[in-house]
Amino acid sequence: MSDQSSVEILTEWDIVAARQLGRNVAKELGFGTVDQARITTAISELARNIYLYAGKGRIEIQQLTENGMKGILIIAADSGPGIPDIRKVMEDGFTTSGGLGAGLPGVKRLMDDFKIETILGEGTDIRATKWLR
């Protein structure tokens, strides 16, 4: 069972909109302030990656219920250039934009589950889940 809503990422301000949506859903689900901060930060990273590297895409937020557990699923999907070397982007400190290079590995640590699928020239689809404990 899931309940979903999404935000198109085109400008820098859409990142704020995606974050706001995520925060509201997380709050509704009953996540505490620390987890809310983790979830919004993860959304911020993923949305910024879309804005920086793909130009446009979408962030989808879903509420999950599985085996009596509640959770939040963030889907970040774009039709951008794709990621040539996933192992490298998951390394701390690797960056192509002069940033800190903590984005994707950071998101993985902030969330409970993390899946990334990417095809060169076709786009990237990232799914990250956080479960309510």
Partner: protein
């Protein structure tokens, strides 16, 4: 033909308006009309009708200024642009139907009237949309200015100690502004210690952290020290999880502690005075 239409509308105004109101109320998804008080509705309806007629009678200039007033009023009432375009379409439809029923429009002149109608309605639509987007653009640019005025000023609190409180989301543009104001302020106020207060920043992700680190490095280059204060517990946890290295920073949880530390660095402290 223009005059004829205007005369017809003016002659049957009450009936047309009541038909139009009924049609508009039937529109689904449009609460704005249903929630309006009877009095206000009558007033706006008449204003709307007058506006529609004025395009037939008055000069283009007079009409435009009237349209601007009307659009502003409508924006304040919270009418959506979809609603307004629907209102225009319905208004024209009703008049067309009525005039056909009363055989003012008949087979002999229908082509001419159809042309007349489209000449009448098209500019109204266009200028309504234009008036709307103008209002929006103005609102957006005003808000942008307001936002800029709010963001990032460096406040001298003690000699050699300045504070920059950061409130709200930090985007690329603001990050630039923060850096500029910070450096300018440090030089101008001869600050030796600068406290960056992030109590009001909702999310600290890698980009925000990156900008803060860069700003601090730049401050160091102009000969001052930078301290990061106002780190809320949940932000502290996220920063650690993200793996952002702030080891080169002195950080404190509150601005108050930061100020105490800054005074200590400049060999001063706050003491209570005994009588």
């Amino acid at each position: 033909m223009n005059k004829q239409m205007a005369q017809y509308i003016q002659g049957n105004l009450t009936e047309i308006i009541s038909q139009w109101q009924k049609k508009m109320k039937d529109e689904e998804n449009e609460r704005s009309f249903q929630m309006m008080s009877e009095e206000l509705m009558t007033q706006t309806s008449h204003e709307f009708a007058e506006l529609m007629i004025s395009n037939l009678l008055e000069s283009h200039q007079a009409y435009e200024s009237r349209l601007n007033d009307f659009a502003e009023k409508v924006v304040r009432l919270g009418w959506s642009i979809t609603f307004v375009t629907k209102a225009i379409t319905h208004f024209a439809e009703i008049i067309y139907e009525n005039m056909t029923r009363e055989e003012i429009i008949h087979e002999g002149n229908i082509a001419a009237y159809v042309k007349e109608f489209s000449n009448w309605i098209a500019p109204i639509r266009e200028s309504t949309i234009q008036a709307y987007s103008k209002t929006w653009e103005r609102t957006v640019s005003l808000q942008k200015i307001a936002l800029q005025e709010l963001s990032a000023s460096l406040i001298p609190v003690f000699e050699k100690v300045s504070v920059m409180p950061l409130v709200g989301t930090i985007d690329t543009e603001r990050a630039k502004l923060i850096m500029e104001n910070l450096l300018e302020g440090v030089v101008k106020h001869r600050a030796e210690v600068v406290l960056l207060d992030i109590t009001g920043v909702p999310v600290v992700d890698t980009m925000v952290a990156h900008h803060i680190i860069q700003a601090a490095d730049a401050v160091r280059l102009v000969g001052a020290k930078c301290m990061l204060v106002g780190i809320r517990p949940e932000i502290a946890q996220t920063i650690v999880t993200l793996g952002i290295n702030l080891n080169d920073f002195t950080t404190t949880s509150t601005l108050q502690r930061g100020v105490e530390q800054a005074l200590a660095w400049t060999n001063r402290k706050i003491v209570e005075v005994e009588d």
